[in-house]
């Protein structure tokens, strides 16, 4: 359960996020939309600890995580993908995913040098979990490829698989459909829905591709100039004149 209360973030003179609040629980999909520069990515950056919030709190399952270091936030169960893909070059697809699982592996620094039984078991376990993550996004057959040689859409899926391996309770997806064609977008929306259906985590989704965000979100938050201008179901939001004016424009 994620509770974000009234977070603010300024950059010099620019107010990127103002008074943003949100509550999400397992199995839900929340969409965040808004014009470019409205502060959507900044919200994700604050939640995941890349930026420190100027004000406000982020509470996950009763723990205040607002000021934790990034990797601790990630270990508490906040996983994300990036607007501009950020994969680990030089590591295979499988190892990219395993890196995300590694902080949950229990063997100690001793196991780094000696192939203890614990290490073998844990590595085996990690391998299986990560293959399962890859399988969930349909990437298991690329496990040994190098990510930089994969087409864009597959890289996006790999980022999601990597986030899944963090064993998240909140999954933050920043424009996962950017660069996908309509067919791929519909595959992706099936994927996100199926992930959410597992009820393991809540999904927060930033997206400009309305066909995706409008069809799968239960609740949509519309941001403009850092402020939330509307919250509601896709239908409510679509009909909201302020949203039409600021973001959607009239259908051609």
């Amino acid at each position: 359960m994620l509770e974000i209360t009234r977070i603010h973030k300024n950059f010099g003179g620019i107010v990127a996020v103002q008074d943003f609040s949100l509550t999400a629980s397992q199995g839900e999909i929340h969409g965040i939309i808004g014009p470019n520069g409205a502060g959507k990515t900044t919200i994700f950056n604050v939640i995941s600890g890349i930026y420190a919030a100027d004000q406000g709190t982020v509470i996950l399952d009763g723990h205040d995580i607002t000021r934790l270091e990034q990797h601790k936030i990630a270990r508490k169960g906040i996983a994300r993908t990036f607007q501009n893909i950020r994969l680990f070059k030089g590591l295979s697809v499988l190892h990219n995913v395993m890196c995300a699982f590694d902080s949950q592996t229990r063997y100690s620094i001793l196991g780094a040098f000696i192939p203890t039984r614990l290490r073998r078991e844990e590595e085996k376990h990690g391998h299986d979990v990560c293959m399962a993550c890859l399988a969930r996004v349909g990437m298991e057959k690329y496990a040994d490829e190098m990510p930089e040689n994969l087409p864009y859409g597959h890289q996006r899926r790999l980022e999601i698989a990597r986030a899944l391996a963090c064993h998240p309770s909140i999954l933050l997806l920043d424009e996962p459909a950017a660069g996908l064609n309509p067919t791929e977008v519909s595959e992706l929306s099936d994927l996100i829905v199926s992930l959410a259906e597992s009820k393991d985590f809540a999904v927060l989704l930033i997206e400009h591709r309305l066909e995706l965000v409008m069809s799968i979100s239960q609740l949509i938050h519309v941001q403009n100039f850092g402020k939330t201008i509307a919250t509601g179901t896709p239908e409510e939001v679509k009909a909201n004149p302020a949203v039409i004016e600021a973001y959607l424009g009239k259908e051609e």
Partner: protein, 234 residues
């Protein structure tokens, strides 16, 4: 002969074949769309035209002359590429990004152009001293297009210009694209958003696995089964 033509172009990255015998043509003031799924080779095609990638074989001609091999000379001819993923210079301010875009020109002319761009995208004017790297995704996209226009293109290569843009802005960008076309500039447009791309273009190519699978006017392709199934999600 066409004003701009690509003949029999092939590109490899190591063992990966990105393009196989691709040919296409474009005329003055046309919008030519290229659609295709991920990894089809669209970006590779644009990168080859703009000289960033060397083809294994093939010929690219502009006004009946073969293109030079170096990227900066190709820009000199007026073939300008707005790259995928924006590629703004993160540590330069918006204004410097635009001025670098107009690298080929100097003096008063340059500042005149700058003013024009600021009129086209007022947001950029308000933020002209902000570092490009801290702009939001969509803001960077606007900057990238605007920067491309600073080079005064005769042919503009746009790689997924609507990527990450809000719907309203997508419409604006397409308006801009139309306006650019109307000023007699040829546009080669690579898009995932096939419906939009096909509805605006004069001619379109479908690229699959590095090969041209189909070609026709936008309208023809919009109604073709192949395109409907694979690219429009119908």
């Amino acid at each position: 002969m066409a004003m701009f033509s690509v003949e029999d172009l092939s590109v490899h990255y190591g063992y990966v074949t990105a393009l196989k015998n691709v040919s296409l043509t474009a005329e003055r003031g046309q919008i030519v769309s290229i659609i295709g799924s991920n990894g089809a080779g669209k970006t590779s095609l644009l990168r080859t035209i703009s000289g960033l990638v060397k083809p294994v074989h093939g010929r690219i001609t502009f006004m009946d002359k073969a293109l030079p091999h170096q990227a900066h000379k190709i820009v000199g001819l007026g073939i300008v590429h707005v790259p995928e993923g924006r590629g703004t210079f993160s540590g330069l301010t918006i204004q410097d990004n635009l001025l670098v875009g107009g690298y080929r020109f100097r003096g008063g002319q340059l500042h005149q152009d700058l003013v024009e761009q600021y009129e086209l995208f007022p947001l950029l004017k308000h933020r002209k001293t902000q570092f490009a790297g801290t702009l939001s995704g969509g803001e960077q996209q606007m900057l990238a297009i605007s920067r491309g226009l600073m080079s005064k293109p005769k042919i503009l290569l746009l790689d997924e210009p609507s990527l990450g843009l809000a719907p309203l802005v997508v419409n604006q960008v397409y308006d801009v694209i139309r306006r650019i076309r109307d000023s007699d500039i040829t546009i080669i447009l690579v898009e995932q958003n096939a419906r939009k791309a096909l509805s605006i273009c004069d001619k379109a190519y479908v690229l699959e696995n590095g090969e041209i699978r189909a070609t026709g006017t936008g309208g023809e392709l919009l109604s073709s089964d192949l395109v409907k199934k694979a690219y429009l999600g119908q």
